[in-house]
């Protein structure tokens, strides 16, 4: 599957998603602060997170909110690096956008995943979303106590961290691209 084929179904879905997000941040008191589309590697993670941190500080966002935003940004970006799939040409289609609406920072990320992974990820994220504050913290402690690094290097704490730091506003969506792949999108909010 070549996601870069102009006008392909996959590219259309991907581009519509990205444009739809950006369109929500035009107008009064709204702004797209950061936008990255395409391949993502660790060097870019470092660069993007550094830019985000500086931007937040320049906007006078509270230290507490900057930390939360930085936390979510790193988890979202590293999630893409670890789990984002590549097409047949070794090209990894991802997006990362931060939109500001008044004092609210909206962090969006997306990556391709195999359709075979959609069900289990969907269940896992729904389970996390159903947890109350107390249950969430308890589950976090359990994973921390028992957690090991997986073969891929993840620890299973990433989504829990995002849910915690975003004050339980983590939202997600799967869009089928074709027989093999779907677009996995994540969105969370932090009050500045």
């Amino acid at each position: 599957m070549d996601l870069n084929k102009s006008g392909s179904v996959e590219e259309t879905i991907f581009t519509s998603k990205v444009n739809g997000i950006k369109a929500a941040y035009t107008g009064d008191n709204k702004k797209v602060l950061v936008s990255h589309v395409g391949e993502l590697n660790q060097d870019m993670v470092n660069t993007i997170s550094s830019i985000v941190e500086t931007q937040m500080e320049n906007l006078g966002v509270s230290k507490n909110a900057v930390k939360r935003i930085f936390n979510i940004v790193i988890e979202a970006l590293q999630n893409i690096c670890l789990h984002g799939e590549k097409d047949n040409n070794g090209y990894q289609m991802t997006y990362f956008i931060i939109g500001k609406k008044g004092n609210e920072f909206n962090i969006y990320s997306g990556n391709i995943i195999s359709n075979s992974r959609v069900d289990s990820l969907n269940r896992r994220l729904n389970a996390i979303k159903s947890l109350s504050d107390t249950e969430l913290k308890k589950h976090y402690m359990e994973v921390l106590s028992n957690g090991e690094l997986s073969v891929k290097g993840g620890a299973g704490l990433g989504f829990l961290t995002i849910q915690l730091k975003s004050n339980k506003t983590m939202d997600f969506e799967f869009q089928t691209l074709n027989r093999d792949f779907s677009l996995f999108s994540l969105h969370s909010k932090v009050e500045g």
């Binding site: 660790q42 997170s49 790193i74 402690m141 921390l144 290097g153 961290t161």
Partner: protein
């Protein structure tokens, strides 16, 4: 074998383990792409250091950001220190944090609960 020094990078902490100078510290931020790759040599060094059978071991942490995977890796590092404690070494974890950094303070408290090591909490000046 007496000394391990890893310079800090854009996403990994500064680490100095010097048994001659009796300095053991980890400082900065931690969000490497591959936590196993970064922390394995550090944990392996500690494993070899067991042969020295030190009487005391005080390790100072001053981390201001830990990615979720790093939190697991640091836990594994602390559990390695707990091995020393079982061997009879008097182990102290000095957990430094900024005054307004509840997250890092709380992470230290979580580690204390999990590892049962002796923790000294210190606010950065």
């Amino acid at each position: 074998m007496n000394r391990l020094e890893i310079l800090e990078t854009g996403n990994t902490p500064y680490i100095l383990f010097d048994s001659s100078a009796n300095v053991f510290r980890i400082e900065g931020k931690s969000f490497p792409e591959d936590c196993k790759e970064f922390y394995s040599p550090v944990i392996a060094w500690l494993d070899k250091f067991k042969a020295v059978n030190p009487k005391t071991l005080a390790v100072s942490f001053n981390l201001f950001y830990l990615s979720s995977s790093s939190i697991i890796s640091v836990k594994q590092l602390l559990l390695k220190l707990a091995d020393f404690q079982s061997m009879g070494t008097d182990v102290t974890v000095i957990w430094n944090y900024d005054d307004d950094d509840d997250d890092i303070k709380k992470t230290g408290e979580d580690y204390l609960k999990i590892t049962k090591l002796k923790f000294q909490f210190q606010v950065n000046p």
